[in-house]
Symmetry: D2
Subunit: 135 residues, 4 copies
Amino acid sequence: MNVSEVFSIDGEVRDSELDLQGIVNNSNYFIFMAHARHKHLKALGIDFAKTHEEGHDLVLAEATIKYRTPLKSGDEYAVTSKIVPQGKIRVIMEQEVIRKSDKKVCAIGIFTVTSISTKTLRPEFPENLKLLLGI
Amino acid sequence: MNVSEVFSIDGEVRDSELDLQGIVNNSNYFIFMAHARHKHLKALGIDFAKTHEEGHDLVLAEATIKYRTPLKSGDEYAVTSKIVPQGKIRVIMEQEVIRKSDKKVCAIGIFTVTSISTKTLRPEFPENLKLLLGI
Amino acid sequence: MNVSEVFSIDGEVRDSELDLQGIVNNSNYFIFMAHARHKHLKALGIDFAKTHEEGHDLVLAEATIKYRTPLKSGDEYAVTSKIVPQGKIRVIMEQEVIRKSDKKVCAIGIFTVTSISTKTLRPEFPENLKLLLGI
Amino acid sequence: MNVSEVFSIDGEVRDSELDLQGIVNNSNYFIFMAHARHKHLKALGIDFAKTHEEGHDLVLAEATIKYRTPLKSGDEYAVTSKIVPQGKIRVIMEQEVIRKSDKKVCAIGIFTVTSISTKTLRPEFPENLKLLLGI
C-alpha cells in the first residue's frame, strides 16, 4: 500500500474492556488505536518488534483522543489510521474508531510518533521509515 | 449451534499485550479465553451483559491455565471453547489457544463457571442457561 | 481538601505494564492518571461508582498525554491531579506522572471531564459536583 | 528476608479494573498476583527484568486461581506470596488476595514458575535462583 492511503482494521469489543458504566473503558480506545497503528506501519514494512531489535524504538511523543460515542458489549468497530509526515523526526498519525452498525465515529485520535535510537538514546528514524516518508 | 459443539474464534496478538520478554504476557491468555467463552455463550443465546441486567452475574469459581508455547508479535491464533456440564450450578469450559501458523497449542485453559443472583447473592443459574444445559 | 489544591498519589510500575521495549506501555500512563483522578474526586466527595449508581456517568470528552521520560521496571512514581473548572458542564484535570528517584516528569496529561445523565443521556453534572465547583 | 517466609504487598482497586458487573475483572487478580510474585522474588535478589537481560526468562508453566469474594471499587487488598521449591526446575508460588477491610480471602492462586534460557530455549534456572533455593 501507499504511505498516503488510509489504513483500516476491524475489531470487536471484549467484555473485559468494559467498565462498571457498561461502556468500553477510555484506556482501551488507546489500545485499539495502537494496534491499528502497528498494523498500518507493518503493512508499510515497518515492524515494531523488529525495529526494536534493530536498534530503534518507535515511541509516542504525544497522544490526543476525543471521545464521541461509547462502544458497548458486542459492538464491532473499525479503526482507521492515516500518516501525516511532520518534518525530519516526527510523524502524525490520525485515527478514528468507527462503530460498524451505524458508522458513528466513537473516538478520534491524533498521535505524534517519533523514534529513539536504543544506542544513542537520541531521536532518530530508522532507515526504512526515512525511505518510506521520502526524507 | 449445539451446546456440545466446540466453538472457536480467531484473534491476533496486539503489541501492547507483549511484555519485556517479547512474548504475550501470561494474563492476556486469560483475556483471550474469556473473550472466546463470552462469544461461545452468546452464540448459544447467553449474553454476558444482558444476563447481568436481568439479574444474574456469570462468574468464575476457578481458572487453570497451562502454558505451552508463547505467542509473539504478529502471531495469529484461534481460541477454542467447549462446554462440559457439571451438576446443577457449575459448568466447566475447556479451552485452547492455538497458534495459526503451525497449529501448536500455546495454552490450555480449564474454567469453572457459575452464576450468582444479583438479588439473593446466592449461586443460581438463569433460566436460559438451565434450558440450554437441560437441567 | 480544597477543590483548588493539587492532589497526589504514589504508585510503582508492575512488570505486566512493560512492553517489549522494556518501558511502560503508553496506554498505562492513561490508567495511572485515571486512578489518580478517581482518587482525587473521591477525596472531594465524588465517588465514581456511587455517582454511576445515582444516575450520572463521569466520562472523558478529551484526553491528551505528552510523553517525556519512560518509566521502567521497578520505578516508583507520583501522579498529581489538579482541577480547573471550565464552565457549566466541563472540568479540566491537569496531571503529571513524576518518577520518584529523580523527580523527572515522565508524562503530562490534560483531561476534559464531563458527566452524562444515565436517564436523559444528556450532559449534566451531579449536584455534589456542582456544589463542589460552586456552579 | 528468608526464602521460606511469606511475603506480602498492599494494593487498592483501580476503577479501570472493574467490569460491568461492578467487580474486579477476573484477569486482574492474575495481574495483582504477578506483581506480588515479582516483588517477592526481587526482595530475594531475583529481578525479573535483570534476569531477562542476563539470559533467563522466568515464565509460568501453570496457573490456578480460585475465586472466593469479589473486590469492588475502593477496596484495599493485600497479596501474599509463598515459595514452595519443587525439584530442579520448578518452583510453586502460593498466593492469596485478601480484602483489607474484613480479612476475607478474595482469591487463592497457585503458580508453577520455571525459567527458560534465552540462548538454548531450554528450561534452566539462573545461578542466583539455584543458590536461593539451595539446589
